[in-house]
């Protein structure tokens, strides 16, 4: 069909050229050797349109992102089928446990934040006396404070490419209050979520495929995708499942040396703390070892700290890597640390807003200029997201009108997350052949499934990874969507899946019982 159309096109083309040169001697069709050369060259490839999968950037073709991958498209198909043919599946609804998207599963936003955002989105409200009846007084006050730092109070204008200065001041103050060490607003780049900031750093660091970035395995696949997109090499370091996903310096050293022996220049180390998908919160001592390692080996420390407000255990707390480095006496000249934060996680869960920042320290002025330049090409991140980032880093304080209701909402969400993490972890650990480390933080569980050989063979027979096979069967039996461990990386020969702790608390018992029932029946089918 394509050949036929193309042939027809060629015939049309030649007759067009003939008729044009004969009857329409227009200036643009003067016959010149250049014209015929260029057209002839094009004709040779006329059978293929310029952009096809075969002619796309190979880095685009190579990268993958399982969180919204195959299992999810399958789930969406099933969801459609449920609507058009009710009763066509052994479940009533799809339960998305694949993605850290709390508000899509009925988690409520923090009222104070939304009050301020409504007011800054529509400042005319502040001039109306009726607003006092609908908004808390401190949200009105905060909205005024924010508008005062936005030039012309114009929330619809592009801001400074690093973000509104006054908002960065507020964020820097929030960082300093959190860490006990000063933070410079000029080190902060506000971005549309943390992900674009990660991409920016990869773009700066990766020159060729000989530039490597150390990434934890398992990792959040933004990193593997971004490294592939930018043409670099992912240098994996394995987290130790047996010790609660511990990060061993000996493993870092080993992988670094191996990469270097292959001619890879390792540029940076990615640490996700609290971990995704693994949920561990690093011990301070561990963090100090990591800082020393980066300093010694000349690596940029890329600290993904987006889950800093998701901690569910009393014996661990969040320490930013910058704080750890500073407390060790290390300053700007000693090592470069980039900290990523987002409004998407924590107890605020504002994924759809696309708010976040990176705080960059330890870079020379000329490097910082280049970072600014790259940021400026996109002009700026969305203002509403910038405002939200400043709110997240500076929430209501004791004495504020909204403080108590804010704390009630925050504690409610965090305590519920902790309960759900616990319930699901226990459930997974109770299943045959399943072991699950505790979710100390973040929003996920990453249980390991010891699959019987028969199951592994069945998966091979349909050309699927065993954990993808398991996840698909789970979906088809229960409507529960998890992401196969192969999407995150795992020790070869081990199988996992990532399940969020986000479904509504009242749905958790149902999820657990259906999951267990499926697992039992799966094991019965494939038990050795």
């Amino acid at each position: 069909m394509r050949r036929f159309v193309a042939e027809k096109a060629k015939r049309a083309l030649s007759s067009y050229l003939l008729s044009s040169s004969r009857s329409h001697p227009s200036p643009s069709l003067t016959s010149s050797p250049l014209k015929f050369y260029s057209t002839a060259a094009a004709m040779a490839s006329k059978l293929n349109p310029p952009v096809t999968v075969d002619t796309l950037n190979p880095k685009v073709l190579k990268c993958e992102y399982a969180v919204r991958g195959e299992i999810v498209t399958h789930a969406q198909r099933l969801q459609e089928e449920l609507q058009t043919q009710p009763g066509s599946h052994p479940f009533d609804e799809i339960l998305y446990c694949n993605i850290g998207n709390p508000q899509s599963l009925a988690q409520q936003p923090i009222t104070f934040f939304r009050e301020v955002l409504a007011l800054t989105d529509h400042p005319a409200l502040l001039d109306k006396s009726e607003s006092a009846a609908l908004f808390s007084s401190d949200s009105i006050e905060r909205a005024w404070q924010i508008l005062d730092v936005i030039p012309g109070r114009a929330t619809g204008a592009y801001s400074h490419s690093q973000g509104v200065k006054g908002l960065r001041d507020a964020i820097a103050a929030g960082i300093a209050a959190r860490d006990g060490f000063p933070s410079n607003p000029d080190d902060i780049f506000l971005t549309d979520g943390a992900s674009p900031a990660v991409h920016m750093m990869m773009q700066l660091l990766i020159r060729t495929e000989n530039d490597g970035i150390l990434c934890p395995i398992p990792q959040y696949p933004l990193y593997s995708a971004s490294i592939a997109l930018h043409g670099g090499s992912l240098v994996p370091y394995y987290l130790d499942e047996g010790t609660g996903w511990g990060l061993e310096i000996s493993e870092l050293k080993k992988q670094l040396e191996e990469a270097r022996s292959k001619g890879i220049t390792v540029r940076a180390l990615v640490v996700i703390n609290p971990g995704n998908p693994t949920g561990q919160v690093l011990a301070e001592e561990n963090q100090r070892q990591i800082v020393e390692f980066c300093k010694k080996e000349g690596l940029v420390l890329l600290a993904d700290e987006v889950y800093q407000e998701n901690i569910y255990v009393d014996d661990k707390s969040f320490n930013s890597f910058k704080k750890i480095a500073r407390s060790m006496g290390y300053g700007e000249d000693d090592l470069a640390v980039v900290s990523f934060q987002s409004v998407s996680k924590g107890y605020y869960g504002e994924c759809g807003k696309r708010g976040g920042y990176m705080e960059i320290t330890g870079f020379s002025a000329d490097v910082r200029e280049q970072i600014y330049k790259v940021a400026s090409v996109n002009l700026c991140s969305n203002i509403s997201g910038q405002i939200l980032a400043s709110l997240v880093m500076n929430p209501p304080k004791v004495g504020d009108e909204s403080y108590e209701s804010y704390m009630a909402e925050k504690d409610g969400i965090l305590q519920s997350l902790a309960r759900r993490a616990q319930a699901l972890e226990e459930a997974f650990n109770s299943m045959e052949g399943v072991t699950c480390n505790k979710a100390e933080g973040a929003m996920y569980l990453f249980p390991r499934i010891h699959l019987p050989q028969k199951a592994i063979d069945a998966a091979k027979a349909v050309n699927k990874a065993p954990d993808a096979f398991y996840a698909q069967r789970l979906l088809e039996a229960t409507g529960i969507v998890v992401v196969p461990g192969s999407g995150f990386g795992q020790v070869p020969g081990t199988w996992h899946f990532r399940c969020t702790i986000l479904p509504q608390e009242d749905k958790i018992p149902g999820i657990i019982s259906h999951f267990k029932a499926f697992h039992e029946s799966f094991m019965s089918e494939y038990r050795d």
Partner: protein, 480 residues
């Protein structure tokens, strides 16, 4: 020990990239502003920063979406009109859980449907919402497409000169080759197909595979509205030369003359019928940042793909999914822009009033500025038919060019720096957009408030005429 990341070890492509819109002039202007000097920023198309007010209706709707608990309050009707309330409810229902949930990576299906309906009303041809992807501003969409197309430095992209430097920056960042084609200033910045053919042949002779062609209509910085005939020829050209057309149409609402209204490349493509309508690959870009909306800070945009294969669309979807989703409030702004209040709606009258006022004022300012520049010595300026910019040609005297050389600066950079120091007017030198060798321009916007315009043009004229006085040899004849 050497720093982990120092200037030498940065990605070369990053170092090579330039983006003058927020480059040297802007940084100098910001410095001066900090020192207390009054600066008029005309370096970027940022209407709200220069006093243009946001349209009321969209802000009402988005505020309600931000704080849905307002909808439950019995007094909400005191602050918000009923149609804004209804529209907020409509959009909240379309989301996956309000503004705070990631949407579909391509954007909320319901909003993409609204965009598709808008395109169909505008062009008279149906389009598929599945081929419309919402993005955090049109720039992100442009970057995604260029990243998908460019494989290596042998892939070339035809870019107009002068161009909006997002294109040159993105091509450099992604390691491709920019293949320039010069717009004809004397012919109202129209396309010169001889020149385009020469460019493409020259690139091909160097081993470059020219993959795509960028067209900006209405033009930025040049402000021309292309004729239908020009666009037809362009589409035929892309068909013959096997190029995907990247049509930047973000200024389609900004039209200040009646001879050449905006016609989308897609409409013309479909008007031309087979084989072109099925063969020419086209990606069209639009935004909420320009037009009479000017909502730059929301970062709302979309691109629409025509005649790209399903597999290609899948790959582009995959890349979009890595960033999870575009910001939801920006998506709602897009929905509101393509589906504004209609006659009969409570908010229609006010919406129309606000929109008309902005458009009429922009048209006036386009004239004020063009006429103002043309009244200055050694300055020639094409009329701003569309978009938001004026791009006057400054005929710099030989001595000014020499002075610039000794200062190590491009001549138009020197001129613009002096203009800034003398008047506080912050512009972008033409070299930031590209221009013919030895021809100099600057780009300014038509966005300063209408009442400030006469004073600004006066101030410019004073500076320019004094500059010309200083650098010309006895009014034009040499002292040889």
């Amino acid at each position: 020990m050497a720093k982990a990341l120092d200037y030498e070890s940065l990605n070369e492509n990053v170092k090579k990239t330039a983006y003058a819109v927020r480059g040297e002039l802007y940084l100098r202007a910001s410095e001066l502003q900090k020192e207390g000097k009054k600066i008029i920023f005309t370096n970027v198309g940022n209407p709200h920063a220069l006093g243009q007010k946001p349209l009321t209706f969209p802000r009402q709707v988005v505020a309600l979406c931000q704080a849905p608990f307002l909808l439950d309050d019995p007094n909400v009707g005191l602050l918000f009109p009923a149609d804004a309330i209804a529209r907020a409810k409509h959009y909240l229902q379309l989301t996956s859980g309000g503004l705070g949930a990631y949407s579909d990576s391509r954007g909320i299906p319901g909003v993409r449907k609204e965009v598709a309906e808008f395109i169909e009303r505008r062009d008279g041809y149906p389009t598929d919402p599945e081929l419309i992807f919402l993005t955090d501003g049109a720039s992100k969409g442009v970057m995604q497409m260029l990243n998908a197309i460019i494989r290596n430095e042998n892939d070339g992209i035809l870019v107009p000169v002068p161009q909006y430097p997002l294109y040159s920056a993105a091509i450099t960042l992604y390691g491709g080759s920019l293949v320039p084609y010069y717009l004809e200033e004397e012919a109202n910045w129209s396309l010169d197909f001889n020149n385009i053919r020469q460019s493409i042949a020259s690139a091909r002779s160097k081993g470059i595979t020219v993959r795509a062609m960028v067209i900006i209509n209405p033009g930025n910085p040049t402000g021309q509205c292309l004729s239908e005939a020009n666009i037809r020829e362009l589409l035929r050209f892309c068909f013959l030369e096997n190029l995907v057309l990247l049509a930047d149409e973000v200024y389609q609402q900004n039209i200040y003359q009646d001879e050449r209204p905006f016609i989308s490349a897609r409409k013309i493509l479909f008007d031309m019928g087979p084989p072109l309508n099925k063969e020419v690959q086209l990606v069209s870009f639009h935004t909420v940042s320009k037009g009479y909306w000017g909502e730059c800070g929301q970062r709302g945009g979309y691109f629409e793909m025509t005649n790209l294969s399903p597999k290609t669309v899948d790959e582009i979807y995959k890349v979009a999914s890595i960033s999870l989703s575009p910001n939801v409030p920006g998506q709602i702004f897009m929905g509101l822009m393509v589906n504004p209040p209609k006659p009969g709606d409570i908010s229609y009258f006010k919406f129309e009033q606000e929109s008309k006022a902005i458009m009429e004022s922009l048209r006036k300012r386009a004239h004020i500025m063009t006429d103002g520049f043309n009244s200055c010595r050694n300055v020639v300026c094409n009329f701003t038919e569309g978009a938001m910019y004026s791009f006057p040609q400054i005929r710099l005297p030989a001595r000014a060019i020499e002075a610039a050389k000794s200062a190590g600066k491009a001549p138009d950079v020197l001129y613009c720096l002096k203009l800034l120091e003398a008047t506080g007017i912050s512009t972008v030198p033409g070299s930031g957009f590209g221009q013919k060798e030895g021809v100099f321009h600057l780009r300014t916007t038509i966005l300063p408030a209408e009442e400030d315009m006469p004073a600004i043009m006066e101030s410019f004229k004073k500076f320019n005429d004094a500059f010309m006085e200083e650098y010309e040899d006895y009014r034009g004849y040499s002292r040889m």
